[in-house]
Symmetry: D2
Subunit: 423 residues, 4 copies
Amino acid sequence: MARINVKAVEKKIMETPIPAVKRVALAYSGGLDSTLAVELLRRKFNVADKNIIPINVDVGQGKEDQDKAKDNAKILKIKPVWLDARKEFTEQWLGKAIRANSNYNGYPCSTSMTRQLIARIVAQEARKRGCDAVMEGSTGKGNDQYRMHNTFMTFAPELTVLCPVRDFDLGRAEEEAICKAWGVPVDEMISGGDDKTMWCRSIASGAVDLNQELPAKIWIWLVPPEKARKRPEYVDIEFVEGLPVRLNGKELALDKLVEKLNFIAGRNGIGRIDMFEDGIMGLKSREIYEAPAAHVILKLHSDLEQACITSQEIQFKKGVDAKWAQMVYGGEWYHPLKDALDAFVASTQKVVNGKYKVKLYKGNIEIVKRELPTSLFSPEIRSIKAGGFDQRWSHDAAKVRGIRFEILAKRKQVMRKLKRGKK
Amino acid sequence: MARINVKAVEKKIMETPIPAVKRVALAYSGGLDSTLAVELLRRKFNVADKNIIPINVDVGQGKEDQDKAKDNAKILKIKPVWLDARKEFTEQWLGKAIRANSNYNGYPCSTSMTRQLIARIVAQEARKRGCDAVMEGSTGKGNDQYRMHNTFMTFAPELTVLCPVRDFDLGRAEEEAICKAWGVPVDEMISGGDDKTMWCRSIASGAVDLNQELPAKIWIWLVPPEKARKRPEYVDIEFVEGLPVRLNGKELALDKLVEKLNFIAGRNGIGRIDMFEDGIMGLKSREIYEAPAAHVILKLHSDLEQACITSQEIQFKKGVDAKWAQMVYGGEWYHPLKDALDAFVASTQKVVNGKYKVKLYKGNIEIVKRELPTSLFSPEIRSIKAGGFDQRWSHDAAKVRGIRFEILAKRKQVMRKLKRGKK
Amino acid sequence: MARINVKAVEKKIMETPIPAVKRVALAYSGGLDSTLAVELLRRKFNVADKNIIPINVDVGQGKEDQDKAKDNAKILKIKPVWLDARKEFTEQWLGKAIRANSNYNGYPCSTSMTRQLIARIVAQEARKRGCDAVMEGSTGKGNDQYRMHNTFMTFAPELTVLCPVRDFDLGRAEEEAICKAWGVPVDEMISGGDDKTMWCRSIASGAVDLNQELPAKIWIWLVPPEKARKRPEYVDIEFVEGLPVRLNGKELALDKLVEKLNFIAGRNGIGRIDMFEDGIMGLKSREIYEAPAAHVILKLHSDLEQACITSQEIQFKKGVDAKWAQMVYGGEWYHPLKDALDAFVASTQKVVNGKYKVKLYKGNIEIVKRELPTSLFSPEIRSIKAGGFDQRWSHDAAKVRGIRFEILAKRKQVMRKLKRGKK
Amino acid sequence: MARINVKAVEKKIMETPIPAVKRVALAYSGGLDSTLAVELLRRKFNVADKNIIPINVDVGQGKEDQDKAKDNAKILKIKPVWLDARKEFTEQWLGKAIRANSNYNGYPCSTSMTRQLIARIVAQEARKRGCDAVMEGSTGKGNDQYRMHNTFMTFAPELTVLCPVRDFDLGRAEEEAICKAWGVPVDEMISGGDDKTMWCRSIASGAVDLNQELPAKIWIWLVPPEKARKRPEYVDIEFVEGLPVRLNGKELALDKLVEKLNFIAGRNGIGRIDMFEDGIMGLKSREIYEAPAAHVILKLHSDLEQACITSQEIQFKKGVDAKWAQMVYGGEWYHPLKDALDAFVASTQKVVNGKYKVKLYKGNIEIVKRELPTSLFSPEIRSIKAGGFDQRWSHDAAKVRGIRFEILAKRKQVMRKLKRGKK
């Protein structure tokens, strides 16, 4: 990596024209981008400390991240507003994601949700606290800037949006250099682009090259299959109306259930994702994620839907779910189409109930038992079939269904005849 | 199981009214249904032996099945027409299935294809050989009757279709009993409803109950993960225009490649499917399949598409692929919509090229290396990105993209105002 | 038309085997099929008069039809149960149809709805009144048999379904002949297959040949454009949440509004439909309908949606609306997928408000004025645009949006190079 | 309108930083934007006259526009390259549009196509002639900038794109003022934003306010219904493989046929469009178009498809056609997904053949005769139906189709029972 010329970076920052702002609410995670942002507000935007309002939103990123945020706040001499949104995240966001089989080409939407949740809270706080601007630390290469911008526009369209890393065109190394020069804490441990939610951890956000191997130490939940436990582990999960509510017989709030299951599934080699992702701007990146609990829950939810909802719903819901994931990934959680998709999905989930016993073993999730009292395949339901169905009915049914093909065959003859006639 | 009263079954058969036929082409696999069919043509339909034309179509069901077909032909004293359609099946059918990511809710369409291929050949032979009817052995509970009927109507709409097991309402046990009474060979080994193609083996076709455990001995390719090899096995596969053409460095015809890969992937615990399936008549069944090669090939094809085709193609192709699978499963291979879907798919595959190294280990397929010269993520392509993209462009791009949300926010205010106005 | 041999028809009826039934609820419209049905219950099914429960459901077919039903009841000496479902039809069914732009390839679903509503009421009455069977008069060639059967299965799956015209294989002329012979009233005026609801009148149901001209006298509301009023007529219509609530300034219940508008739009030449329709069995028929009010309302509703809901909703809702129409046409009103589609649609309609002035003139519907306070195009909303948007933003926005094409161009170069390399 | 301060506009232009370019190919239509562009190249970009390469592409905009382009060239003292793309436009573009029922929420894509065709030709000429930049005259508020930019990136990604009206932030009045000051011809007749192709004429591009009435004089082809001919006019049109090939018995190339039909249909009051359109940037505008021939051709093509292609194709093609229109409107003609959609569409059109007689009368298009030898409804085809179909088949077909509803009914009972159990 080239040596950074701190003076040049400072010059670039100082020469970039900026809008005038007086009081700024800042999305503060405690990571590099947001700590630098605080100092930029002081040095470049000339905002007095009493008018810098850092907002920290806990969406389940974990104790380690939150402790770091607190430590860095002390060093920076700021007093962030600490807000806990974990309950809302689990109940209002994650539940919808599970019911929609949340899957953007293999990625279980997570950061894509939390950024929008954080942006909404920051926007609302900003208005409440009399700010004229909001600030956040996204780069100009990724998806988060769009997610946050859309949400700011939704909840505080009158405020100025500041996005300094992007708008001063700062690279990662430049940020680190300028932070060191300015005495802003730089934590080497929080690597560039990682983002963790309880549902899925994103690793190195798009910075992985095509044939870079994944070292075993990058995982926090996952034990790779080869090193995972040698004996299978059995887990019981119960779903009510499309959501997991009970783990190994114990009723648990969704966040607790996910937390436990990440641990259990992770130690059995489950949850690795290595994929190509189409970013909002249309560029592809290779992305690495780990999401042990999400793997288990989404696989079972999908199996359960195939048992409980009709074939026609399954086929149509594929398109609804795909659009849902596209929109949420694309920063459109608060778009009215997304609400309409949610209404569709909710309407299908009342009957999605069942108990599973699964065997977890070195990366495999094998369903060993299903209890599905309200499925369309339960013994109660099938008795009707055994009782009433006579295979001879199918004689005429096949004939009626085949008429279309008879007509098509007849048309082929007509077309052949017409062709011959022309010659 | 209740004892079968052979006399009663004979009576049922003899009393059922039938259409008059003179010369009948019969889809002959050598299994129970088709051997019984031969004898029914003799005893019930009064067709002379010279007018019974059994047609055996080899679609890759394997030596064991074909040997049995030959043995039974001798016992029945018939001389089937033996036709080899393996090349057509691989080149004209399987290739299309791979490119369309052939997946009917988790099932890689296979028997659904071969039945239609067989029906087409039988219909064409029937016309060529002056028959006035075609016969096939489907039951009235399954999907195959529709698949074959549609295809018969497409290629020989003027012929009478005979489907005796269904139309005489025979159960499996009744079939066996009547065969024994009539001296027709009954092979205990070929269990009810199994069907094997090179691409996917269907086990016990829908007769598996909800919580029946799957004994290890039911698999022919698969070694369950716990008993699979202890060391990972590495495999190289190369795709050209969406199709695998090379295995471990050796160019292979698709059927040979699939055959080898079934063996290799199977011994590494890959290929088990346990799912709910929506049959053509709308009934759900639990289905068990094994398809080791299909698992590997479809996973890689899909990964390759995500790297090589555009985001918009990926999203739209989801719907095309889902429809493709629905139609092929539903017995509509020869429907013009299916042709149009094929045309769409073919148009996307020219750029789907790449080499993979995958690690197979106890049920896991891990991609360890990709060479993707024509992907949209290749280093050659990305150089353009590095060279040209300036993150500051995103400032205005985010603003333009966010205008929609600004307008929606404004509308919310208007609606609130109107509401207040009404009060 | 060939002369009908009444004796032969009677013989055919008497020889057809039937299920034993004791007490039968009958969908009674007073038309040919249902009056014949009453007599068949007496003569063929041997049901005593006290066990024949004719149910007449008023869904807005109009006074003429209902009077005829009463007259024929007297002649037949039956006392039907008279039930008024007009309110339910308008509020629960028609409203949903309007919001979903109800359009099955050009046909505004109507009879497809009423048949299912009637079948539900008949099934419920049958259970309440201790019947063991339901009877209805559909033929075996059309769509209604499926619509009614599905609904019977939904609300009274345990009852036997009798469908005599179909199951005795009676043609129209045979029905008339046997009615005359048996003293059942045959009303020449009610022509074969016509069906009228307040929303759309179906004319001669599929019996129109390809090049048959449409005589002017077939219409009841419509005055063909050439003969329509010479001066334009202006109409004001107001929509609230996707539904028309006010006509020419007067608040009206939906059925009254539709009734008035049929009259006004009809005399201005609006409402003729001449189209090919894909029946449930996959056969095409040429269908003639008249639906003046539906034309005006659906055109305005669609215009209003384009003004009030987002582009993304409009695009996705196309697919939802198309599926809605397919399902309702196909007799699947009570299918859970249909409910989920309704939930989607309902979620989009809160903002669909506006007032229209339209000019009706000889078949043309011209919008001359729109007041759209909650549209995304209202002056209130656009002020934001004028205020904030700077066309220079588009410079970078276009660049970012165009990157995808730059990458595709680069790939083309790579592919060309690879090709050359191979040679 | 406020008086324009020419000095201020000149200052704005002169102070805006620009990229250095040497030789520039310019899309030259002869309208205000492109004539101003020539002068900007001279005065602001300092490009010598020999390095200004104006390219005029004839896509059927008509003699009047082309004459004006020539006159203005003389005044400007430039010698444009005159290229005729009418044949390509008709054969390669318009044909595809017709087959795809080209309809973007009511608008028959036209300018959206020609801009991309022009941009491709300009890009190719630019490379051939050694330019380092391309220039075009779009504003920053509309769709054309994206259409042209995408195409430039596709065919000449290495060239600089100049878009001066947008990048100097010039309003219409400013453009006129500066032109007058600089001696650039300003033609008052060509009103702001009009764009004419043979297929559809766009009027005042989005500048129409919500309740602005449309004066009769804005139309060039259309005579409003009230003033249109008093007698109906009959027209014969024949389609082969989805395209109109014969008008009133005479074989015509597509451009000639469209030209004639615009005249005929226009004088009968056909072709007015007044709609809300979702622009590429997500803003809605009210748009006025006239497209008489397009109305007739698209209506007949759609009727013909309903007669000739299967129900399943019709349903799926709706989604394909909608996506096609979205992409073409959105400037993605050269996107690989668009190619794949074309492949789908082409595959469906072989059978789309037929002759129509239509009555045109004061805005109405009434089909009075259809000859459809290869439709699925031709008498030849229907003979099969009459011959073979027995309505009694439907008895069992309805039962089989209804099983799904029986199972759903059963499930409802189970759910009710479970609910009661819980209480």
